[in-house]
Amino acid sequence: MNQSKVEHTLASFEEALRESRNSVLRMASVAQQNLEHAITGLLNRNAELCNEAIADDDEVNSFEKSIDGEGLKILMRFSPVATDLRHVLAAMKIANNLERISDEAGSIARRARKIGKQPEVAETRMIEPLYEMASALLRDGIRAFAESDVDLGLALHEQDRKLDAAYRKTVKELTKAMERDTGNLKVYLHLIFVARCLERVGDHAVNIGEESVFVGSATDIRHIGPEALSEMASDYGD
């Protein structure tokens, strides 16, 4: 891996790559904001924020199409190779993952609106730590891409395992609450689905991390298993 800090001789190529990278970062920022609005709307029973999260999903969808279009144009016009080629492919895949994250935010917001119309239950607060973990994963995934940080990209699987464990624990607790408080079954069911959405956000963030590792090291770490992954992480850490 030899990513270059030197600019392309062809300024338009440099500009197109820069624009593609910036579009991904702008899209990530909107997706992140949608997720934050949805969760804040849930925790504060604020339907207005939920509506914003749902409406802003359109912007994320447009970003996905425009990043794919930009990528296609770069492939057609400049025939990129090596790091540039991996960057273009990764940008398109990351855009797809961000679009899915924003979809999850929309689902959370829709459920939050319904929850807001029901009596408040204390267990709603159990979603907050899951959100913190999923949000940190997303932030790190995007940082790994923005800074071509292979180490950080490799570390996301471990973070996601913790999120998965927390998700399982939360579902168990919510199931117990359903048995205890049968009058609010619908609310608990919605909260289980919200927890599921956040677990999926973590998975998409991991995908973004994997793409970042691909850009930075030309290694495809998808589906290689935890053992190979940790060995690779220690190789890089050396």
């Binding site: 030899n2 190979a228 190789d235």
Partner: protein, 290 residues
């Protein structure tokens, strides 16, 4: 950890190491990468240096192995020495006054600078195609059989057979079979270049050297030559010099990047163009040369 399992861009252990250690590859490692795995080496270059006049060294200590019946592409900016090295393989540079060289080049284990080696016999084993097509002002047929006539072949049946076989191999037979006695100078640019390839392979050489064979051709003629190169490697060891990166990725199995007379990196083409181990290579192939 078995990193070779990783795909689709298989990462060699050395590439992983290069991530944590950004220092350039050790010379031993670089030398290992310059050797093609799994194929017998047909051309071996060992510590080869070349000077045009005593004070101007244009190739510095090149060591590389070129595998048999594969296409090897030489890439690099103008003046980096790739054509000079190519022309050394059939000792064409001997024709220039004041040149000198050090080190060795072996073709099929034979030292081509051996005093006992007859240069003409070497050149019979190595065909060459140049940037600009250069058919003789003769008929299509006579162009193809020229080398056989020079070496004394008079048997019409043999000449006819060689002409047809060579033109078929050069994907030109169907276009010329009905006008073999027409002047070669009446062919299109792409056809002329394919005629030159037919002429180069008529003598059944072991190696085909191509110095930017498509640089003067349109995209269709270029595609025909590239298709032809892929077919020719079934029978010949091909070395091609090209400035066209996409062409190098399309036609070659291995690629070597030269800069200022030095071999910077040689590797499988897919590896070199997807994950080069040297920063200079990445800068050049991605158009960041500077």
């Amino acid at each position: 950890m078995n990193l070779a399992k990783l795909e689709p861009i298989a990462m060699q252990k050395e590439n992983v190491e290069s991530l944590s250690n950004t220092a350039s590859l050790s010379s031993a490692l670089l030398e290992r990468k310059n050797q093609a795995p799994g194929r017998p080496d047909y051309i071996k270059v060992s510590n080869f240096s070349f000077n045009y006049v005593p004070a101007v060294r244009v190739l510095h200590n090149i060591t590389m192995d070129i595998p048999e019946k594969q296409v090897t592409a030489f890439i690099g900016p103008s003046g980096c020495g790739k054509t000079t090295l190519l022309r050394n393989f059939n000792r064409m540079n001997d024709l220039i006054d004041g040149v000198s060289q050090e080190g060795k080049i072996y073709v099929n284990d034979q030292d081509i600078y051996d005093r006992d080696l007859e240069v003409i016999s070497l050149r019979k084993r190595i065909g060459m195609v140049f940037q600009k097509s250069n058919p003789f002002p003769k008929s299509i047929y006579e162009n193809v059989v020229y080398s056989l006539r020079v070496s004394g072949q008079k048997n019409k049946e043999v000449l006819d057979e060689v002409a047809e076989k060579s033109l078929r191999s050069a994907a030109l037979w169907d276009e010329t079979k009905d006008r073999l006695q027409d002047s070669a100078l009446g062919l299109s640019g792409g056809q002329m270049q394919r005629l030159c390839i037919a002429r180069a392979i008529a003598n059944r050489p072991e190696i085909l050297l191509m110095d930017e064979p498509c640089s003067a051709l349109d995209p269709i003629a270029t595609a025909k030559i590239e298709e032809l190169i892929s077919e020719l490697k079934q029978s010949f060891t091909v070395v091609i010099v090209t400035h066209n990166m996409q062409q190098a990725t399309r036609v070659s199995d291995r690629a070597a990047y030269f800069y200022l007379g030095k071999l910077i990196e040689m590797d499988d083409t897919t590896q070199l163009f997807s994950n080069p181990s040297q920063k200079e290579t990445e800068d050049y192939i991605s158009g960041r040369f500077g």
